[in-house]
Amino acid sequence: MTGKTLYDKLWEDHLVREADDGTALIYIDRQLLHEVTSAQAFAGLRDAQRKPRRLVTNLAVADHNVPTTDRSAGIDDPVSRLQVETLDRNCAEFGITEFDMADPRQGIVHVVGPEQGATLPGMTIVCGDSHTATHGALGALAFGIGTSEVEHVLATQCLVARKMKNMRVTLDGTLSEGMASKDMILAVIGQIGTSGGTGFAIEFAGSAVREASMEARMTLCNMAIEAGARAGIVAVDEKTIEYVKGRPFSPAGELFDTAAQAWRLLVSDADAVFDVEHRIDVSTLRPQVTWGTSPEMVANVDDVIPNPKDAPDEGKREGWSRALEYMDLRPGTKISSIAIDKVFIGACTNGRIEDLRAAASVAKGRHVAGNVKQALVVPGSGLVKKQAEEEGLDKVFIEAGFEWREPGCSMCLAMNADRLEPGERCAATSNRNFEGRQGYGGRTHLVSPAMAAAAAVAGHFVDPNQL
């Protein structure tokens, strides 16, 4: 008998029942809730006169709609305000723990979960948000669901599911100076494509993953969904256990030691067989910049915009042409010559302390270029913000001409007031470069925090090491 993958183990640990046709009921240990995808689920519960099965497994926080400027006056936009207030009311009515907008722990749900110890190794974690994959960095099985499933989990603590297939992406080698896990994951997506992981749980393995910090692993798993995989996972090691220790929702004392023993088993067996394997040597990797409207449209900073004529097939040719038209870019243009209008540093991809440190180290002693109209730094949570301020990063950014904001999803998807105007071009540390994602008609280039800061001070893309 061959060994099991980490995903196999997580799946089996949560299997409540399985029918002969493979339809399974799996148990969910943690549900994270936010304002955009929960209102209709709570309404459904109310209509059917149902109650959440286990209140303690739920944690809510408003993040998508919240303003990142002064919040003392509340939310200006009445539609956004209603949505956030609806979450507050639903949590109060049903008895669910919520970090509301005034709570110092408020932030992006995928930053808050791990930070609070609400994300633990070995858990199944869901949220009505595709970037739930982030939590897999702690050796959890975490994936995004729709609102009907949010309601289903509230009511039953289970989901109807079928087992996914196993993919392993092995990242070996040592990243060169100034490179980050964002560059690794963009390169992975460039290689396997935006649907390469559809139907799979991706385990990220290899020496570069073992060397990566917990924050860097979260960035990797965050964008598994951009490769089509609902779940990204990293095996548990001592770094994981050290990270979880002492956090508010984490077990303490003897119970922690018992848990840690179980968590240490959350690795793929040496003889486990994956359905698909990919390998990338990251030691030769260069800083990555997306140039199109799908995360797979990515190139090295030293490259030029590709020509659709060179696309591997007709579908891609058509896609590249359309993307270049939307992005107002021409084949052969050097990536490093593309000038930008705005910069966004933050999001569940890159809104953690390590990301802000990387960006600040580039910004320090420099200034945002004259052609850059706005450079936003939006911490992923109130606690990240506090930590950054204790380290003086806020001053570094402000002195360099960046705006230092309150935590939230912000310009990753522009549901609040932070957005691109039509035609504006942005260097963003977020995860999606879709048409209009950061604002109607806006143009997004996905990059690492160091690259975003470098682009802010240079006014165009540039290898952060060559500033």
């Binding site: 009907s148 799908s294 994602r437």
Partner: protein, 216 residues
């Protein structure tokens, strides 16, 4: 949920790969706390020439006449045809709600993103993955001979084009039954309540740190 009945309708072709859920229903419309009312904003940025806002009356907005949803007879179509990786990106179920509100009950594509695929079944919308060659043929059929209708028979798992071409498709039998019967998933799951309770009691002993509410 309404039962999924056999029906016929016009096929709306959108010949693109990787159509994302941000395109299907842009973010500003996600501020709604309702489950319906999204149909006028389906593909909003492609369908209109201006930037849409939630709650706005769309009947006076300038439309993009080149976009298929603004053309007869597609504007009353009930099948959507796309290429690979349809509805990738955000998990927003609003994407399905917008398609359903517009009147689309069946989406045919070469492949789907996983979360959207699941969301469809919760709302009486049927996603059908066909081989790329068949999808190519359907696009060519529309491009060369103009709009055409399809007939869907979920019971028999067949799609039939008005030219008489029959496409058999695969579907998970549990999901098929739920659609045909219009069943509410939650009630079905609660039929297994004793299994859930047994699991919890066993697991609370194995992993007590996950069950602070179960006492010692």
């Amino acid at each position: 949920m309404e039962k999924f009945a056999r029906y016929s309708g016009v096929v709306i072709p959108i010949n693109r790969n990787n159509i994302d859920t941000d395109a299907i229903i842009p973010k500003q419309f996600l501020k709604s706390v309702e489950r319906s009312g999204f149909g006028d904003n389906l593909f909003d940025a492609w369908r209109y020439l201006d930037q849409g806002e939630p709650g706005e009356d769309c009947s006076n907005r300038p439309v993009n006449k080149d976009f298929v949803l603004n053309q007869k007879p597609y504007r009353t179509g009930t099948f959507l045809l796309a290429r690979e990786n349809f509805a990738c990106g955000s998990s927003r179920e609003h994407a399905v709600w917008a398609l359903r509100d517009f009147g689309i009950r069946t989406v045919i594509a070469a492949s789907f993103a996983d979360i959207f695929y699941n969301n469809c079944f919760k709302n009486g919308v049927l996603p059908i993955a066909l081989p790329l060659a068949d999808v190519d043929w359907l696009f060519a059929r529309d491009a060369e001979k103009g709009p055409f209708t399809m007939d869907i028979d979920l019971e028999a798992q067949t799609l039939t084009s008005e030219d008489g071409n029959v496409y058999r498709f695969e579907i998970d039998q549990f999901k098929k039954m739920c659609l045909l019967e219009g069943l509410d998933d939650i009630s079905l799951t609660l039929q297994h309540e004793s299994d859930i309770t047994a699991y919890e009691n066993r697991r609370a002993k194995e992993a007590p740190w996950l069950y602070p509410d179960f006492g010692a």
